[in-house]
């Protein structure tokens, strides 16, 4: 059964230097508060897996938490580049990071395979695509019945999955709703998992029998962090702060302005700072 912890406790207990982690959420429910806590605790040499590194990894990379990034689309959605990601990858600031680049289909299949306990995923992908040339983790497999050649990638296996959800009950059962991305797969592909939530409730009911729910015994720690997905959003709670995504371009373009922003909004703040963004939608 999941333990209900503070964010500091959850990260201290479950996330270590050098871990292979995924902090998922496909535009929706991105666990920013947890990312800030990881920065505050100064975690290092993490392998950071996310389909879209987004601002959360840009912030962590800029503060030196990362050693390797595994991703499929590395931009600031609708805005432009992830400047801290590029600065680390291209100039080694604050430290050199390596990249493993895939397509969305490859990573979605790799998360699915990880959740299913398989060693690899086979899919009809990368045909005529040059990533095959530069990524040794893209191989080929032949269908034993038709002879068709398919792409194969290793399953994603995580030390820790970190995700944000709408609700958990007191046993740590977690409900996701809306754009659910690969969060469930990430948790099921991980040895340990931290789930931040908008609300801790007595019961998740009423809900569809087929709702996207993770039982508490599949989750290591549940943390109550209202607003914890800002500047991404939480369906049914608050909207995406598109304006902040645009502002981030200027903040992150320059190393000093980035450091200043992190100092003010991360290092000198705590998870409670996110509460202001948590206003339940009508």
């Amino acid at each position: 059964m999941a333990a209900i912890l503070s964010l500091a406790e959850a990260v201290e207990e479950h996330l270590r230097d050098g871990d292979i982690i995924a902090m998922e959420g496909f535009t929706h429910l991105i666990p920013f508060a947890a990312g800030h806590e990881i920065i505050r605790q100064g975690r290092k040499r993490l392998t950071l897996i996310r389909m879209t590194p987004d601002l959360i990894y840009d912030q962590m990379i800029g503060m030196g938490c990362g050693e390797k990034v595994v991703f499929s689309w590395g931009g600031n959605p609708g805005v432009g580049s992830l400047h801290r990601f590029r600065d680390a990858h291209e100039n080694g600031w604050p430290n050199k990071i390596s990249i493993e680049e895939h397509s969305h289909a490859a990573m979605a299949n790799a998360f699915d395979a990880g959740a299913a306990g398989l060693p690899f995923a086979a899919f009809r992908g990368y045909r005529g695509a040059e990533l095959k040339r530069v990524n040794p983790n893209i191989k080929e497999i032949t269908c034993p019945f038709t002879g068709e050649k398919l792409a194969a990638v290793p399953a994603i296996k995580l030390d820790v999955a970190v995700v944000h959800a709408q609700k958990a009950d007191r046993k740590g059962n977690v409900l996701f709703e809306g754009i659910v991305g690969v969060q469930k797969q990430a948790v099921l592909a991980a040895k340990r998992s931290i789930v931040t939530v908008e609300e801790v409730v007595d019961t998740l009911a009423p809900h569809s029998p087929n709702a996207v729910i993770l039982p508490g015994w599949t989750v290591s720690a549940v943390v109550h962090v209202p607003g914890g997905a800002h500047p991404s959003y939480a369906h049914g709670y608050y909207k995406r702060d598109n304006a902040f995504y645009k502002k981030w371009d200027a903040i992150s373009r320059d190393r000093d302005s980035f450091r200043a922003w992190i100092g003010e909004h991360v290092l000198r703040k705590g998870p409670d700072a996110f509460a202001v963004h948590a206003k339940k939608a009508a």
Binding site: T27, H28, E90, S103, R127, G128, I179, V212, R240, Y245
Partner: protein
Amino acid sequence: MSANYTPAEMMTVAAARALTNDDVCFVGIGAPSAACNLARLTHAPDIVLIYESGTIETKPNILPLSIGDGELCETALVTVSVPEMFRYWLQGGRITTGFLGGAQIDKFANLNTTVVGPYEKPEVRLPGGGGAPEIATSCGQIFITMSHKKRAFVEKIDFVTSLGHGLGGDDRAKHGVTTKGPTKVLTDLCILEPDPKSKELTVVSLHPGVTREQVIESTGWPIKFSDKLAETPAPTAAELKVLRDIQARTKAAHGEAA
């Protein structure tokens, strides 16, 4: 001439017109999203729009800034997980038309959204492929929308992020791909289509007021023109109104959380 519309609007309108009421579209952010929703709000009310975030049959009232905006889920028939989207829906062969764009395109409509310069030591590191490598091969056909610039329309792209017609001719099929690939490239100057045999992109229609010279000047290879070169009908007042209305709603909405 001074038109009462912008070249970007012309491009979006041209892309919208290329869609039919029976299409099932895999939609990307930006011009494709504008074009698909313009089509939905004009001549193709039943068009099915699918975004890679898992939202199926979405009818956004404002254009998403990100591929996973809440608006897409709130107005969708249903939202599935991202693995299901790529496995059952895209790979499953249910998409008639996919939209792509890029930083670079070559004469066979291969696209680069990965790097300018060498992959290992890029001059410019671009966001990367995202869904493009499999969208390019799994959808029945591909429409490409791009701003027509010499630095984008190049003789040789630095990295083949997604397959178009490869080296031309039947090269695409040699990769084991059975879908049509790029059938139209819609730019702010003209509409291009691959030659039936060579698959080289050929200008089939110039937007009003655009000259051959402008297109030649804006293309990094000796661009070919169709013998039956047409002029693209200018956007109608109705098309412009619908497009500007949704863009105005979008602008208002995206400011709101500031």
